[in-house]
Symmetry: C2
Subunit: 339 residues, 2 copies
């Protein structure tokens, strides 16, 4: 099949690779209807994470079940499914406790920007729609594979409450879904920290009540001023750099929580001066996608929100390298890839 | 007055210092009936925290109100009071949100091992008993100034739930109160990590269901074995060293919380490999003592628990240096100081 592969820093290609197959009875193979590029794909793209040249890349997709292993009983060929980027059996003690991203049989989508992908733990991971969805709904359904549940997890981890003030650090796609999630959870005030006008607009469309364009000390000061010096009840950290993480802690009020979902890179936490002295907690991590999928799928199908708006560029699989360039240069918020 | 002062590493003296006075209208002066030595006093004692020679030391006490400032209306001379080590106005936005240790008017007891102490923010901080308590109750009431609420805060921060499994790292007095608190909160299993036989006994008396004497990898393995490989639902980190903190994270199950109350010293958190990948949160910090005092005072007065048992050595103020030595050498769990 044709699949996106990575060969070095900023070297993305479309290659012929072996078709995925049923390797164990818990597998399924899904024909990808739509995939997309994740902010976390940019780490290896920029040479900041190690790679093996020629590896497939891409972990977000929706599609149609092509084949299932013998242990998969709830899905059959032809089902339209959302494929969570992190696969889980949904039956182990960690899954039953709501920590599906810590599943003892954890797996990952390895070829979401391709024609086909293998889903390990298909029975526990996949969620299907009733029949084939309208084409116009595909982008919104695609957000359920990672970016929407990850933004939702940031809000859950930060302890967003009805009537509270939530601040979202980071205006990438995950940050924008943090805004949408905090808003859906009833935060009275949702402050988006964003310097980029198209992202500010989408943040407002997703429910941001305030925008703070400043960064670092000026950004901290702006949030404190907006909150009468109190700080945020809940902070959604959606970047993962040392700068963003420290901003997150400095805008948190005493007793607040920082919910992190950006993979931390080179972060030095303010353990004593803020976490201990101000009792600011750090929660979150890799999202338990499957945990949130039923609720979020319902919200997408009910309408009233349009998460698919996050895709401001669509490319055919053959031009996926252009999509990476557009995201790397921040010309696109999030790129949909059509196999 | 006579007060405990620190002059250098392992150099504790009893000195004549000026009597505390009402400096601002929110102050009170309390005559100390009983004070005690905190595990955190051992940091400067051992030379691991900077000191100013001649400074008073000691932040835990109960006593009788001697004098109040004009803004203090709920207390009068003669009232028996618990003095929280951290003083708060209990009216600022952080206090109202339950984060009293982040009060905008935060203050601290500075001479708890002395004849008198000044309480800043007396109106918001103090809690009184109805009349003078029985002498036998004094030790239990004294635990309310810091060590009991701090152990309670570890349990709250770790998210101890009824029926769950809590593991307490650290068998100092705070850790033992973590055991008591987790037990009172209804944890079905309370595992105390302790190598010292007298502390193991007290841990059992305070509700520990299991004792793990091993440390490091062996300790982690023992906890995992006790929990069928799952790990702890809630971990109370009651030490603050790099070793204890990393043990805490390694025994936490995915999605669990580590509640920290030991002042962190030289800690390198497992941010990516455990916190992010396993979604293990870190919460806690300096305890909001005043928040928990009404409930914990009720529990002490109701009886059925005997927190005062933690004091296994009592010294007169003149011999306070012996008390420090006994705690430093782990010959005593916690030392009561009688002015």
């Amino acid at each position: 099949m044709r699949a996106t592969t990575i060969h070095g820093t900023r070297d993305i290609r479309v290659s012929d690779v072996p078709d995925p197959t049923i390797e164990v009875p818990t597998d399924a193979v899904v024909r990808v209807v739509a995939g997309c590029i994740c902010g976390s794909d940019l780490w290896p793209y920029r040479g900041e994470n190690a790679i093996t040249p020629g590896d497939t890349i891409g972990h977000e997709c929706v599609g149609v079940v092509e084949e299932v292993g013998s242990a998969v009983t709830s899905f059959r060929p032809g089902d339209f499914v959302v494929v969570p980027f992190d696969h889980c059996d949904n039956t182990c003690p960690h899954c039953l406790a709501g920590a599906q991203s810590g599943c003892v049989n954890l797996g990952f989508t390895a070829s979401g920007q391709a024609e086909y992908t293998r889903v390990t733990q298909a029975e526990g991971s996949l969620v299907k729609t009733d029949g084939m969805p309208d084409e116009g709904l595909i982008p919104s359904l695609l957000t359920l594979a990672d970016v929407f549940p990850t933004g939702w997890h940031a809000a859950v981890s930060a302890g967003v409450r009805e009537g509270g003030t939530a601040v979202v650090v980071g205006d990438g796609a995950v940050g924008l879904f943090g805004v949408l999630s905090a808003s859906l959870m009833g935060a009275e005030r949702v402050i988006a920290m964003s310097r980029h006008q198209p992202r500010q607009e989408l943040a407002r469309a997703f429910g941001a009540t305030d925008i703070v364009a400043e960064r670092d000390q000026e950004g901290v000061d702006a949030v404190l001023e907006l909150t009468d010096g109190v700080g945020a009840d809940a902070v959604l950290e959606c970047v993962g750099t040392n700068q963003s993480m420290n901003t997150a802690f400095r805008i948190a009020r005493p007793g607040a929580r920082v919910g992190m979902v950006g993979v931390p890179h080179g972060v030095d936490l303010p353990l004593y001066p803020i976490m201990f002295r101000k009792n600011v907690a750090l929660a979150g991590g890799m999202a338990p996608t499957r945990k949130y999928l039923p609720e979020l799928l319902d919200r997408v199908l009910e309408g009233g929100i349009d998460p698919g708006r996050v895709f401001d560029l669509t490319v055919p699989l053959d031009e996926v390298a252009d999509g990476y360039r557009a995201m790397d240069e921040r010309r696109a918020i999030k790129v949909l890839v059509q196999p």
